[in-house]
């Protein structure tokens, strides 16, 4: 078991290293050095660039040194929390992203929990009541959730929330609370604003998770050991929960690991429509504007999330399935 964890951990570290190399190469793909862009930009704005400024930047990113040196310097800074400069915002990257990352993680985790809490019981119900009215209704709703474009769903829900519940929509706070200090009322306001994004972002995920849970469980319910558990005299609910669901949930755990990076990149379109201060829109803009240090920071963060997610999924899987534990 320890060997298994150790091996997975080594994979994780080496993958991260490779990702950082590729990421760094990508930001260096466009011709010209970073400082050329920067100077050109400042000149376009009509600002005078002093030699000291240029020298400071050249020195900071080791731009006069070979590429591997630059990489080492960047990596060294990255692990200490120095992510470089965003030349579009003319700010340190780390100043720009933290707040957004916090909000994104809150929204994404809430969505993830919503998805699982809603999808798993529905999936179990659908599988155990296959082809009944309830199953058909959930299938229909699920297909709508799966196929409706999320931005459209966002708009529709915004209209409903505002017209029917008189709620201010868009953003995370009502105007009155934006600059207010933290209080219970502000938290309640935040939670109210989270409902629409969570439902919208979670809709298609929930629908596909329901389908997957239903399909897996139907397969498992045909297995001999489920019938054997019944033949032992176990109650039907114990047969389903203890034997069938536990075996049907493996593929979903794998999926859980893969869904962590979408915490950073996820729901970009929805965030733009709902004007949420998440990382998605900012990442999108950084790519458009070739704001390279900002973009690569997001890229590496997504990779870290993906790799950590997979690592956690591996651990979870080993905990659920002895065949992996004893490999």
């Amino acid at each position: 078991m320890l060997g298994y964890i150790g091996r997975r951990f080594l994979y994780m570290i080496s993958t991260l290293f490779l990702v950082s190399v590729v990421g760094f190469l990508i930001i260096n793909l466009p011709t010209g050095t970073y400082v050329d862009f920067y100077i050109q930009r400042l000149q376009n704005e009509g600002t005078h660039t002093s030699l000291e400024q240029i020298e400071a930047i050249t020195k900071r990113f080791a731009l006069d040194k070979p590429l591997y040196w630059q990489y080492g310097k960047w990596l060294f800074g990255f692990v200490r929390g120095d992510f470089g400069l965003s030349f579009e915002f003319n700010k340190e990257v780390k100043e720009l992203i933290w707040e957004r990352i916090v909000y994104t993680v809150i929204i994404s985790l809430a969505t993830l929990i919503f998805t699982w809490v809603v999808a798993i019981p529905i999936g179990i119900y659908s599988a155990t009541h296959q082809y009944t009215l309830g199953d058909h209704i959930f299938t229909l709703v699920g297909l709508i959730g799966l196929s409706a474009p999320s931005f459209l769903l966002a708009l529709v829900l915004m209209v409903i929330a505002q017209r029917s519940f008189g709620q201010s929509v868009g953003g995370l706070y009502s105007p009155a609370f934006v600059d207010a200090p933290w209080s219970w009322a502000k938290l309640a306001d935040l939670l109210k604003h989270l409902v629409v994004p969570i439902v919208v972002v979670g809709a298609s995920g929930t629908a596909s998770l329901v389908r997957m849970m239903r399909g897996n469980l139907l397969d498992i319910l045909n297995m001999q050991y489920v019938q054997a558990a019944r033949a032992r005299g176990l109650s039907e609910s114990l047969v389903i929960l203890k034997h069938a669901v536990r075996n049907a949930i493996h593929p979903l755990i794998m999926l859980l690991g893969m869904s962590l990076p979408s915490i950073i990149s996820g729901a970009t379109v929805v965030s733009i429509v709902l004007s949420l201060p998440t990382t998605g829109p900012m990442y999108f803009r950084a790519l458009q504007q070739q704001d390279m240090y900002l973009a690569v920071t997001f890229l590496v963060f997504m990779a870290i999330m993906l790799v950590i997610g997979n690592f956690l999924a591996d651990l979870l899987l080993a905990w659920v399935d002895p065949r992996i534990r004893y490999e």
């Binding site: 001999q224 019938q227 054997a228 019944r230 005299g233 176990l234 034997h243 075996n247 004893y326």
Partner: protein, 343 residues
């Protein structure tokens, strides 16, 4: 008198599967009886309804299957003090398949060993967990006592190092060992009836012989009655006291094992016996049963065997269903050749 020492009587059982393509009459008039402490073999070709009959007894027929007719009478032993042998009659077909009453019988008084040892244990629990599951469910013992009994059961089914195996996961065991575990689970609550649904079909011949030995010995030790389902006549000859022959959902003949092998009455039983090789006989070509098993969606009218029967009587066999009639004590046949009027 004969009724008294029966543990199970299945009477004109009908289990149908309602699919979109039509109704499959998997079991369509199966009658047989199992005597207390004896082994009944149910033999028949693949798809003749043997397994469904077994699942019907435990009331675990998977949907869209349903018991639509007949009775399954289980005689629960209340007191056995030599002189008086009291038993209580329970009609399993009247019980709710998921109800408390049926569940308390399932796994405890009637248990089952399945065909596929590789898939009949849940891969995510240790074999000990799965034996203990049955023990703690039906017997009022704590986990430590249950674990002790689980290890005893593993020892009883001839498992080497039972104290270690109890903490193993199914994937660490071979097919034969898994089948031993299944037998241990099935016998852990000392059932009065064990249903073995082709327990050795998936095993190699050496392992098969070991498992058969084991089951015979355990049967002698515990006195558990067994319904042994197989398509292997050799196994029947070796294991069973009584035999029921099934064809297309119907039991066509039941008798003691000697009568079946030396004095078979039903043309199907006779044909079945002609199709197996015998040692000591001059070598000649085996005689297969002519024709093929009919499509389960289109079972012929009248006696289901008539299109393949060498004694088929036109106008009778292809028109009327034969009755299941006793022709000697403990010997019943479903064939127009043995109609009561004719005798």
């Amino acid at each position: 008198m004969a009724e008294l020492d029966e543990v199970l009587r299945v009477d004109e059982l009908r289990t149908y599967f309602y699919t979109q393509e039509g109704t499959v009459r998997a079991v369509d008039g199966a009658s047989f009886a199992v005597k207390r402490g004896q082994v009944l073999g149910i033999v028949g070709e693949s798809g003749c309804g043997k397994s469904v009959a077994a699942q019907s007894i435990l009331r675990i027929v998977p949907p869209p299957g349903r018991i639509v007719g007949g009775q399954i009478i289980y005689h629960r032993q209340v007191a056995a003090d030599g002189a008086s042998n009291l038993s209580e009659m329970l009609n399993l077909t009247e019980m709710h398949p998921r109800g408390q009453e049926m569940r308390s019988i399932r796994g405890s008084e009637i248990s089952m060993v399945f065909q596929e040892p590789m898939t009949s244990l849940d891969p995510v629990y240790t074999v000990g967990d799965q034996i203990m599951e049955a023990i703690t469910l039906h017997q009022n013992v704590d986990r430590r006592e249950a674990r002790k009994r689980a290890i005893e059961m593993l020892e009883q089914v001839g498992m080497p190092r039972p104290g270690e195996i109890v903490d193993n996961y199914p994937h660490q065991l071979s097919g034969g060992m898994r089948q031993r575990v299944m037998i241990a689970i099935a016998l852990s609550c000392h059932p009065s009836l064990l249903i073995a649904d082709e327990p050795t079909t998936a095993l190699d011949v050496t392992t098969e012989a070991q498992i058969l030995d084991l089951m015979r010995n355990l049967q002698k030790q515990t006195g558990t009655a067994i319904v042994y389902i197989t398509h292997n006549l050799g196994v029947i000859a070796e294991m069973c006291d009584d035999v029921a022959v099934m064809y297309l959902g119907k039991v066509v003949e039941q008798a003691d094992v000697d009568s079946i092998f030396y004095d078979p009455k039903h043309p199907y039983t006779q044909a079945l016996l002609r199709s197996i090789p015998r040692i000591g006989q001059a070598r000649k070509r085996l005689e297969p049963i002519k024709g093929i098993v009919p499509d389960p969606y289109a079972i012929p009218q009248g006696c289901p065997f008539w299109p393949r029967c060498i004694h088929a009587m036109p106008g009778l066999c292809d028109h009327d269903q034969p009755e299941y009639v006793p022709i000697a004590p403990g010997h019943s046949v479903r064939c127009h050749l043995f109609r009561q009027e004719a005798m």
